[in-house]
Symmetry: D2
């Protein structure tokens, strides 16, 4: 549906919003229609004939935004957090009443992060061992990262479904913390280093061979290509889509 | 179909054959039935009630082997090279007459190599740039490696199908060879280094992020887990299967 | 000599100059005295009691700058290019007449690049094989990079001095360019990939083990810590110093 | 002193001893004289005019071995563990009485491990942050590895001597173990993965750049080149030398 996609941005004055506006404007197939910030009327989107809205706002306002958009036939690409199962069901209800509308809600728009999680989960059942190393700048407050938690959970589920047992580990003498944290049975190591941005490595191994899937995010605009991918595809996917990978035909 | 799988090995006295025999014997679910080498009668397989035969032999004998196996209702897992389209068609013809039999023919049984090629091809259309670095011991005669050729071809096909253009490259001043070889439009670099075995890295990049898929093969038995996977699955897949990944439910 | 270092910057309005001014101002031990740009009088440095001047300007003006600074007893840290042996001799002559003054001229101020070149050269004679992979953004015009040329030259010299022969290589069948460019007998591979900035990996290998020295430069300010190191040390090193590593007590 | 070096091996029937005998025999400059195992007389070394003996035995016998060797004018290269300061002083005493004899005692003969520890220590004071990741096969009982402990200790000492503070770390919310073990103030992460052998990565970072020093030991003979280096050099270094790096002219 390229060519006629008119893209509006919620929170267009914020840091993330500005980056999305810039990415839309730099794209030949998309047209930036209007930005809406705190205090601006949502009607700007209907007035400007916007076809897709990107929402990176706040859990306290995102449901009101989505109700307006869906009821006005506007597709949405949402990076705002805080979607419980209950909230997702509410969105599904609105979409059932407006069957032509598509909404994408995703916790992560970095294509490389999405791909590496999926590949890790797919590969996990073919290997005896799997561990995760995530590496970030030293200003990060939490360890492991949210992406590492999700990656470990996806790996654990894939291994459980395939009936694969735990990774072998003969450690009997461990200095406290050496073997990392354990998330759903998967060892996760968190490195904090000046000069780094956001990186993750999944290591898989079996006798005689290893497979490493590494994702490096070198600046904070790495979500932009994923958002544009969502904007281009969501018009052709009516209903609710959760997770960018569902749009990627993998 | 685990439990009753009786595995025969063609070329059981060779280096690869010995490794496969050892792997079968070490596996709780499989039973080693018999080995057949140059001069031995293929009837040993029927006499020993073998259900699956592994063939890592030679292009000059593999077709005779397959005709015998298929006509006697024995499944086959084949790592022998030299399968032209014509040969594949011949095998399909034999299988059409023996509809319960399954044959797997694969150029590569290293699970990590198979996975990394597939992941590279899946990811290739989401990135502006992709290059391949393969690294091997210094006794290797050919550069790039066969796996690197196949990887580049799969990447190129995936990008062509998605309508992705060539990787950007502003090089105007190049010392001969610096930018590597070009296989189907993909730059491939071959490192030869004492201490290495067989390794490959696919690098994919777009503004602000990169994805790296690396496979390390640390000894020569890394084909064994893939062969066993084929042995376990081929009985449930009648007809011809080309490529280990087709059996992997990816 | 920390505490009393008053730092002036030549070319302070340019991109590099601005980054240096910012780095000096952010440093507790240094005081920014004055910036001098095209058209401004060099006397600003003497008027402001500047003790060290940083010069990232142009080959056409750097010699005039240095003559003024040396004759006025001001130390200099120089990243400007174009220093021939003849120019270095001229600078040495001026310094001989002004024995208290120190001048540092260096082709590279990224500490990691300097360290990795030196470590590569130190390690090179203990390994059978060595190759260099440099990886940059796709807007770079030349391949290999200047740093890769210097690294290969340093490795080659170290191996020659130790009487180490060429890296083993059994390649007989090569697709044009696969084995990279050859700089002083060392194979160098140049990767160009969107999402990268400036990276280099030196791989050394001998039977059973490899050593990898990798440098990642993630933004363009990575020269700043090296410049500040030079500024702090040069006052205690009268005469001409060529190369940042000479100041690093390695 | 190549050409006339006659090398004896203590513990020549053991796994390590056999590898050393094989390496000596494969070297053009060295001659294998005799092997001595449990129960064999040490006089075999004097009878065979051995000039250098390699000792990879046991703490319970190594002191008797060294006394014999030193008093008979035979140089020694020792990989046996358990050398306390007291034992080292005893050896120094014997050497003082036999001034022409050289003894090398080293905890690690893998040249890459020795180089990477040294480079890490040299680089450590130029970076804000440093962490260590060591990766081994899953049969290893202790975590971190002995090499990682020594590496962290060397890094910590270098940083203390240079007055560098601790690596920055804003972690306030940590899942137990995520940030690894802490050895002398340095975070160390231990990965255990099927398919790996023995690997270590030191990551150093400062604003905008990182340096990574990685050592991969791919088989168990990686100590051999270091032992041969010791054998060749120790005859020219009378007295006690502790650590292979002292012989490497770094």
């Amino acid at each position: 549906m390229s060519g006629d996609i008119r893209v509006g941005v919620l929170g267009s004055a914020g840091k993330v919003g500005q980056a999305i506006v810039a990415a839309v404007e730099a794209d030949d197939d998309l047209t930036y229609s209007v930005g809406v910030d705190k205090g601006d009327p949502l009607e700007s989107f209907t007035d400007s004939e916007t076809t897709v809205v990107v929402d990176f706002t706040h859990p306290s306002v995102v449901m009101d935004n989505l109700r307006f958009l869906i009821h006005n036939g506007i597709h949405a690409v949402v990076g705002t957090t805080g979607f419980t199962d209950e909230r997702l069901d509410t969105v599904r209800g609105w979409l059932a009443e407006n069957p032509g509308v598509g909404v994408l809600i995703a916790p992560n728009f970095a294509i490389g992060a999405v791909l590496s999680m999926r590949f890790a989960a797919q590969a996990a059942r073919f290997y005896d061992s799997v561990e995760v190393i995530e590496l970030h700048h030293p200003h990060k407050a939490d360890a492991p990262s949210g992406t590492a938690y999700r990656t470990a959970a996806m790996i654990a589920r894939a291994r459980a479904e395939a009936g694969v047992g735990p990774s072998p580990d003969a450690t009997t003498e461990e200095l406290d913390g050496a073997r990392g944290a354990v998330v759903d049975g998967v060892h996760v190591h968190s490195v904090r280093l000046a000069g780094l941005v956001a990186h993750q490595e999944v290591l898989l191994g079996t006798e005689g061979e290893t497979l490493t899937i590494r994702h490096d995010s070198l600046d904070r605009t790495s979500f932009a290509p994923g958002v544009l991918l969502g904007v281009r595809e969501i018009g052709d996917r009516p209903g609710l889509t959760v997770g960018l990978d569902e749009l990627m035909d993998l």
